[in-house]
């Protein structure tokens, strides 16, 4: 088989992404159809910037979902004679091409880039979501009560923010720390926040109707409790509460460390944003109205203040997922946490950079992929901000 030319490479790649195109087209068609009924999300389709951002984000989300259909080779599959080959080189057995060339271990750069999206798309939004739960659960009372609680929490947040991120990663994401079980203890604390948040949320709303309240709390307790325990517990490590048979969700320790440290780094910033928004919103008359009605403190915080802070928080969520993507890349770039053969973009850039001046593709491809995802999230955030201001 002959090597492919530039045009042919592009066409073949575009063809490989067919499930992604269908997915994006379907979502865009549906959203356009019901644009006026979808609130803020619907208004995104009035702004070209937001649509471009959304398209980029959806592209990577669908790529992560359909990885198996898109990738041409396995992530660890080494094909002999394909070491450091340029893009479009056919494999010796004639079954196909290395569309974007081969890396220094003769693996397919294209397939690894595609598979790398999965790690980012799973970790980045979830860890950001957990960071938001932590930030919100602590930021609301800090802003609302003020006083010593605020002084203490703000000091702690500033303390974490004063750490250069990389130093923190170098301290937290090492095998030595993993041995002590510290990340798992951290996870134990951090993952408690979503449950706490949900319970308080439901309790505040149904305080006056105890019947509904008790059932809802029980359901949350049982379901989230199980997920929580099985997330945190890992047989053979410092925390092994559940036997392996009952452990539904198994998170490898190194992924857990990465997850926890990203949450740890992001929470203080979310805390500061939520605190600032709370300070602003608590002076509104409808908060005073709720107080004069005799509402509980958590009801006021979660049902009167939080929903009205959602605009800036949604925007920040998008930006923060982008930032988390960059952080994950940074971790990979320094070879921290994730295993060296992992196809995530940061690690691939790291392994590709050594031969950068001679064989640039293995590093450039994941670099561009990472950039496009972050760009998409930033554009989306910009679009969201603009549209939410246009009310």
């Amino acid at each position: 088989m002959d090597p492919l030319g530039t045009g042919a490479i592009i066409l073949t790649i575009l063809g490989r992404f067919w499930p992604v195109w269908i997915g994006i087209a379907a979502i865009f068609a549906l959203s356009f159809r019901f644009k006026r009924r979808l609130g803020l999300y619907g208004r995104l389709f009035d702004s070209p910037v937001a649509m471009a951002g959304l398209a980029l984000v959806l592209f990577w989300a669908f790529t992560a979902i359909f990885t198996d259909a898109i990738a041409t080779y396995g992530t660890l599959e080494q094909v002999s004679q394909m070491k450091n080959k340029p893009p479009g080189t056919p494999t010796p057995d004639g079954t196909g091409w290395f569309l974007l060339g081969g890396d220094h271990l003769a693996r397919d750069v294209f397939s690894r880039m595609v598979a790398g999206s999965r790690i980012v798309i799973i970790i980045a939004p979830f860890s950001t979501a957990v960071a938001f739960m932590v930030g919100i659960t602590l930021g609301l009372p800090a802003g609302y009560y003020g006083g010593r609680l605020d002084t203490f929490l703000s000091f702690a947040a500033n303390l974490i923010l004063a750490f250069p991120v990389i130093l923190l990663f170098y301290l937290l994401v090492t095998p030595e720390i993993a041995d002590t079980g510290l990340p798992q203890y951290l996870a134990l604390v951090l993952f408690l926040f979503p449950i706490l948040f949900l319970s308080v949320f439901v309790n505040a709303r149904y305080r006056v109707t105890p019947g509904v309240r008790n059932w809802a709390l029980l359901a949350i307790g049982v379901f989230c409790g199980y997920v929580y325990i099985s997330l945190v517990s890992e047989p053979g490590t410092a925390i092994a509460i559940l036997p392996a048979a009952l452990d539904a969700i198994s998170v490898p320790t190194n992924i857990l460390i990465v997850f926890v440290s990203v949450v740890f780094v992001n929470s203080p910033t979310v805390f500061r944003i939520v605190r600032g928004l709370t300070l602003d919103i608590k002076t509104r008359d409808y908060v005073a109205a709720a107080k004069t009605r005799g509402e509980g403190l958590w009801y006021i915080m979660l049902w009167e203040i939080l929903p009205n802070a959602r605009g800036p928080l949604i925007v920040d969520f998008c930006l923060r997922v982008g930032y988390t993507t960059i952080l994950l890349g940074t971790l990979g770039f320094f070879g921290l946490g994730l295993s060296p053969e992992s196809p995530d973009w940061g690690s691939t850039i790291n392994s590709g950079r050594r031969l950068l001046t001679i064989v640039p593709f293995p590093a450039i491809v994941p670099a561009v992929a990472l950039m496009s995802l972050v760009l998409g999230l930033n554009l989306l955030a910009d679009g969201l901000r603009e549209e939410s201001l246009k009310d």
Partner: protein, 695 residues
């Protein structure tokens, strides 16, 4: 001004239409607007918010922003068409020939630039004046607008001045180049009434001194009567009536103008015998204007087939000079007919005492250093408040900003606790029980209606849900269906359609939101309702309807209404008794008649005289107070009002500066906190001099 000069128009606006383009559609803001301002004349532009009056002002400045444009017509200034001018020419005119004064003085001054530099910039730009010369001129003008210590003011930053001082600086800035036309866009709306009176007097005086023509934009008819010679009433983007102030105020020839006058509380109005008549319906949105007459759907003289057939032109009124109306039927309507009297209500005797306030005090400690730490100072927000309120009566608490009326409301509601004194409601003391510790009944019995309609409802919760939540909390009904029906009944009570329960607050107008706020306050059958300026942010035609509603519900439930306000016209209209507050002190208490007729407390007298009244028949004595309201941190020694009091000279031996006056009983229930002798009080003249037979 002479007849000669008033013949040449300085500004002629002819058939101007202005529209703004938005993403969805082109919105016409002003249609077919014409008016002329003669030299030395003051033209008042009146209308409710959204009627396009500010847009006209910006169009004259040719500063409509990127989305706005003048679609037709011409604006001629001294004979030159501004709409076709180039940017350079426009810049020559702006600031030197036409100057503008804005609503928010703080926002219109550059926070990072010294006042002097901002003033001097005008002649430096337009006359290429040297810097030192320009500063000298600025110093002179600052003295002209009667600001004390010009040197210090010039070197201050805007945030170091009070609101009234800032507005004087904005006026000084407008006068720096001695413009031929001055545009004033609601120049006093953000200020207190006694400060407003000073600014209005200044504007009138300077206008006469420099012979400046004025375009005065306001929603306040009383102010326009005070300042202007000509008036132009706008409704929904159109001028509906123009003419000389005297003609329009006494012989109006447009149904909207008439309805507007009937909906504002004039001294003769009374809640029981002559209730206000609100304008039915809502202001049309710009893209939902009806065919034909814009006011048609809300007009009592509406004639289907004629009024909604085609656009209605302005017609001159025969017999009056420059008096025009945009009404087809003006010659058919009997303008002297009295309004159809809506059901008069009988006055109810007050019930037993439900709220007793005795020597209540609230002090705050604040740090004098913006970064915390340092010496702390005491803010005396409330000093020795004493009064009581009875079941079913309306007690008004009146005073300007900083007088402590809102602090009292917060204490009553339990958002703050008192420093000392007693606060007793329904026989139980509440002064040191915060809201968290009050039982559900007390909470449900004591509710509040808030000031700002745009802030009073949670923007992300439906109207029905917010009312239902109040019902849940007050425990008034037990099951969801019960609460649902109770909520719908509350909507009926505040005269909102039941379909509104599904709506979000942003889909409601200001008046409608305020109604929801009222429904929520009455959800638990409240016995005492505090209304903190509930209508001050609403347009006059809506104000009447909301007040009417509040009074009706009060009557049905025999609620005690504590009406907090700075607007004496409304207070006079609806209250049974009045408490006048100044700097945390109650200076006068009495029935409405007692407070509104002499003897007055000197502060009450000044306050009454400061309120502009939209009735040319009423003449009032003008008493201008010097200076500003002192800050609550630096309260003057002795009588709180002594720094601004006109009567202080009557009291010898610095008594006012040494001692807080005792509370004196003048007549049954009429209490005064003043050192003035009985003789002086007896010789006080009424503020409304030629007011005969109105009361």
């Amino acid at each position: 001004m002479t007849d000669q000069t008033s013949r040449d128009p300085i500004l002629e606006i002819e058939n101007v239409s202005i529209s703004f383009s938005t993403r969805l559609r082109e919105i016409p803001a002003v249609m077919d607007f014409s008016c002329a301002v003669m030299a030395g004349e003051a033209m008042g532009l009146v209308g409710e918010s959204g009627c396009g009056k500010s847009t006209v002002a910006l169009a004259v400045m040719c500063d409509l922003g990127r989305n706005g444009r003048i679609t037709s017509g011409s604006i001629r200034f001294k004979g030159r068409d501004l709409t076709t001018m180039k940017d350079d020419e426009l810049r020559q005119i702006r600031g030197s020939e036409i100057a503008m004064i804005y609503q928010e003085p703080m926002a219109s001054l550059n926070p990072a630039m010294k006042v002097g530099a901002q003033l001097a910039e005008v002649p430096m730009t337009h006359q290429r004046m040297a810097r030192s010369e320009a500063w000298a001129l600025a110093r002179q003008i600052v003295a002209d607008v009667r600001l004390p210590d010009p040197e210090r003011i010039l070197n201050a930053y805007p945030h170091q001045l009070s609101g009234g001082q800032q507005q004087r600086i904005v006026i000084a800035m407008a006068l720096m180049a001695k413009p031929a036309l001055l545009i004033l866009d609601e120049p006093t709306t953000a200020l207190d009434v006694t400060v407003e009176a000073g600014i209005v007097a200044l504007v009138k005086e300077l206008g006469a001194k420099y012979g400046t023509s004025m375009l005065f934009i306001s929603h306040n008819l009383g102010l326009v009567l005070d300042v202007c010679d000509q008036i132009c009433v706008m409704y929904s983007g159109e001028a509906v009536e123009t003419g000389n102030v005297g003609d329009v105020f006494t012989d109006m020839r447009h149904p909207y103008t008439q309805a507007l006058f009937r909906s504002i509380p004039l001294p003769g109005a009374d809640k029981n015998e002559r209730p206000l008549i609100s304008i039915p319906g809502n202001f049309p949105l710009p893209h939902e204007r009806p065919e034909g007459c814009n006011f048609g759907p809300r007009c009592g003289y509406f004639d289907p087939g004629r009024c909604d057939a085609a656009d209605i032109p302005m017609k001159a009124i025969a017999g009056d000079a420059r008096h025009e109306t945009r009404c087809l039927r003006w010659s058919e309507i009997d303008w002297s007919a009295l309004p159809q009297a809506s059901a008069t209500r009988e006055k109810r005797p007050p019930g037993e005492v439900v709220l007793r306030v005795d020597d209540l005090r609230k002090y705050y400690t604040v740090s004098s250093n913006p970064f915390g730490g340092g010496a702390t100072r005491i803010v005396k927000a409330n000093e020795t408040l004493s009064f009581e309120a009875r079941a079913g009566e309306t007690l008004a608490i009146v005073g300007e900003s900083g007088c402590g009326k809102s602090t009292f409301a917060r204490m009553l509601m339990g958002l703050e606790t008192a420093t000392a004194g007693r606060l007793e409601a329904f026989g139980s003391s509440l002064e040191d029980i915060p809201i968290e510790k009050r039982d559900a009944d007390t909470i449900a019995n004591l509710q509040m209606v808030f000031q700002n309609p745009f802030d009073t409802l949670n923007p992300s919760m439906s109207v029905g849900r917010q009312i239902t939540r109040a019902l849940e909390i007050f425990g008034r009904s037990n099951t969801d269906p019960e609460r649902e029906s109770a909520m719908l009944k509350l909507l009926d009570m505040v005269k909102l359609p039941r379909a509104f329960s599904e709506r979000m607050p942003r889909q409601l107008s200001g008046g409608q939101k305020q109604r929801v706020g009222i429904a929520r306050a009455f959800a638990g059958g409240a016995k005492i309702v505090v209304a903190d300026e509930p209508v001050s942010a609403l347009d006059v035609s809506v104000q009447a309807a909301v007040i009417d509603l509040l009074l009706n519900i009060q009557r049905q439930n025999e609620t005690t209404l504590l009406f907090i306000s700075h607007d004496l016209s409304i207070v006079r209209y609806l209250s049974d008794r009045i408490v006048v507050m100044y700097l945390g002190h109650v200076v006068e208490t009495g029935t409405t008649e007692q407070v509104f007729s002499p003897p007055y407390h000197p502060y009450t007298e000044a306050l009454l005289s400061a309120v502009p009244i939209a009735d040319p028949k009423v003449e009032r004595k003008l008493i201008l107070l010097d200076g500003e309201i002192p800050s609550a941190i630096d309260t003057p020694p002795g009588c709180p009002f002594q720094t601004r009091c006109h009567w202080k000279s009557r009291i010898g031996s610095n008594l006012c500066e040494r001692e807080i006056p005792p509370i004196r009983t003048l007549a049954d229930g009429h209490l005064l906190k003043c050192h003035l002798s009985d003789d002086d009080l007896a010789h006080m003249e009424p503020v409304f001099a030629s007011e005969r037979g109105c009361n």
